[in-house]
């Protein structure tokens, strides 16, 4: 690989754009989420600040910036501050191999999806560190739940993606998009419905969202692993959660929904439309389904999703061998 100034400039611009995307996404999604929650629960949602309450998220983030950062007694000082940083910054890397448009990939790498899966592990680690370093029983319980949940749901998630990788024969996200067609019936969603379903369930669990938000179940654990975080510490966890949601939505769009390919004209708009549809779906089920119990959560994974994804992988491999 030739090292050149242009290459570094490209990566730098990409990282800055990704930061802008992450922050903008968090502000928009907070508003959308609260309005959608209001609509589903038959209440108005935010409506005081700005027209239709649109400035509510900005005011909230100002409040977070101004809040005092509070460190609990006997907390592990270094790890307490390392955790939110470790939650936020690896997510920047995760967006690098995502093909937003035909020529709009920050870093074209042959092992794109492996990079995403590798650095996604830091999210779990940061949750664990945050919960442990807070010296808070709710924090530790939340962290313990976070790890057993993430470790469990990572397996069907990877196996579901692996079925698509088998089909496309590549780990490069752009090539996976290229293997699909422009029309909805040419997308992987049609030939891999089971993998799509498994991925959809696992992504909700991996991003710790309701109905699988047990690491931060507020009725039992106050706020789980980030109970003791205030101000920017909490804001970084919060940003990381929304960025992770956005990431899994983009990966979903790339793997199952044809990425930047769409009817009439291919382009980055299709990626964004599809990713935000998945995002809206995540928000929608959060306010529709009640939270599962922890044993139910683990049973769904180990007794249903894992055997189903293995079966799916097996059938995919056999069909590929027979056909091609």
């Amino acid at each position: 690989m030739e090292l050149s100034l242009l290459y570094f400039v490209k990566i730098l611009v990409a990282v800055l754009a990704i930061i802008a995307l992450m922050v903008g996404n968090a502000i928009v999604m907070v508003y959308v989420e609260r309005k959608a929650a209001g609509f589903i629960q038959r209440r108005p949602g935010p409506y005081e600040v700005g027209p239709w309450g649109t400035l509510q998220a900005i005011v909230d983030s100002m409040k977070l910036l101004a809040k005092q950062i509070f460190v609990p007694a006997n907390a592990d000082y270094i790890l307490f501050f390392l955790a939110p940083i470790l939650a936020f910054f690896p997510v920047l890397l995760l967006f690098l191999p995502i093909p937003f448009g035909p020529y709009l990939t920050s870093w074209e790498t042959p092992d794109g999806i492996i990079l995403i899966l590798a650095f996604a592990g830091f999210g779990v680690l940061s949750n664990l560190l945050g919960g442990w370093a807070s010296n808070n029983k709710y924090g530790v319980l939340g962290a313990a739940r976070a790890v057993s949940q993430s470790i469990a749901y990572e397996i069907p998630l990877i196996l579901a993606l692996l079925a698509v990788i088998y089909q496309a024969g590549t780990l490069n996200l752009s090539e996976i998009v290229e293997a699909q067609g422009s029309w909805p019936w040419q997308w992987n969603l049609v030939c891999q419905p089971l993998a799509f379903f498994i991925y959809l369930v696992s992504l909700v669990a991996e991003t710790n969202r309701a109905p699988f938000d047990l690491p931060e179940a507020e009725s039992e654990l106050t706020a789980g692993f980030h109970t003791e975080y205030s101000g920017m510490g909490f804001a970084l966890f919060f940003l990381a959660e929304y960025a992770n949601m956005l990431l899994v939505s983009f990966v979903c769009a790339t793997f199952f929904l044809g990425g930047y390919k769409g009817p009439i004209l291919d382009g980055f708009w299709w990626t964004f439309i599809k990713a935000y549809l998945v995002m809206f779906f995540i928000v929608w089920i959060r306010w529709t389904f009640p939270r599962v119990r922890f044993d139910q959560l683990l049973n769904i994974n180990w007794k249903w999703l894992l055997p189903l994804s293995l079966l799916n992988l097996w059938v995919t491999a056999i069909v590929i061998k027979v056909i091609g």
């Binding site: 907390a75 790498t109 092992d111 592990g121 830091f122 779990v124 680690l125 560190l129 370093a133």
Partner: protein, 208 residues
């Protein structure tokens, strides 16, 4: 135009530049030719590995020790990147940071959650001695191999291997070592179950 340059800073920078040039001249004939950025990255990764290792050994707190281990794994992943094998680097992170470290952490958390762990005391000198003795084993195995085969490298610059070839190699030419490694893992797992399994009958101390 008059430039306000602090003469002391100027002198120090000049001295450092001269020292680096001197070092480069001294080591130059022995070092492979590579981009300066590669050397910078190498220095960074070596520092991460050594600092992480020291932290892992010397920290009096298990969780901090584990963060040192994570730092070491990051450095090793960087080394794989320098060796032109990004797949291996990402796998290193996926398996060691994403799975092994998280599980180790989980085990630490289940045992106790005070920041002053049971490992707070320094081990006795004899234990340190045994630890140093155990260094001999990898040296005894790796040393002769390095001496015998170290100089037979065909190219000085690492070759980029496509991931597909890697997979084919694992399933054809190197299938036996690959399976043997799986057996090691299986034995470790069976051993752990054997050590931890208490039988189906409840023990005397258990309730119910």
């Amino acid at each position: 135009m008059e430039q306000h340059v602090n003469p002391i800073i100027d002198a120090v920078l000049g001295y450092i530049a001269g020292f680096i040039q001197y070092l480069a001249g001294l080591l130059g004939p022995y070092l492979p030719e590579a981009h300066w950025a590669a050397y910078l990255a190498f220095a960074l990764y070596v520092t991460a590995i050594i600092l992480g290792g020291l932290l892992a050994i010397l920290a009096r707190n298990l969780v901090r020790a584990m963060m040192g281990l994570v730092l070491t794994f990051l450095g090793v992943a960087g080394m794989y990147l320098l060796l032109a094998s990004p797949f291996l680097a990402f796998m290193q992170l996926l398996i060691y940071v994403g799975a092994i470290c998280v599980l180790v952490f989980f085990a630490i958390m289940l045992t106790h959650n005070s920041s002053e762990g049971e490992e707070s005391k320094l081990p006795p000198l004899s234990a340190l001695g045994y630890g140093l003795l155990s260094l001999i084993a990898p040296l005894a195995v790796a040393g002769p191999l390095i001496i015998l085969h170290g100089s037979k490298l065909k190219s000085k610059v690492p070759v980029d291997t496509p991931t597909g070839d890697l997979g084919k190699g694992l399933l054809t030419e190197y299938v036996l070592p690959f399976e043997l490694i799986s057996i090691v893992l299986l034995v470790a797992m069976a051993g752990a179950v054997f050590l931890a399994f208490r039988g189906f009958a409840p023990l005397k101390g258990d309730k119910e």
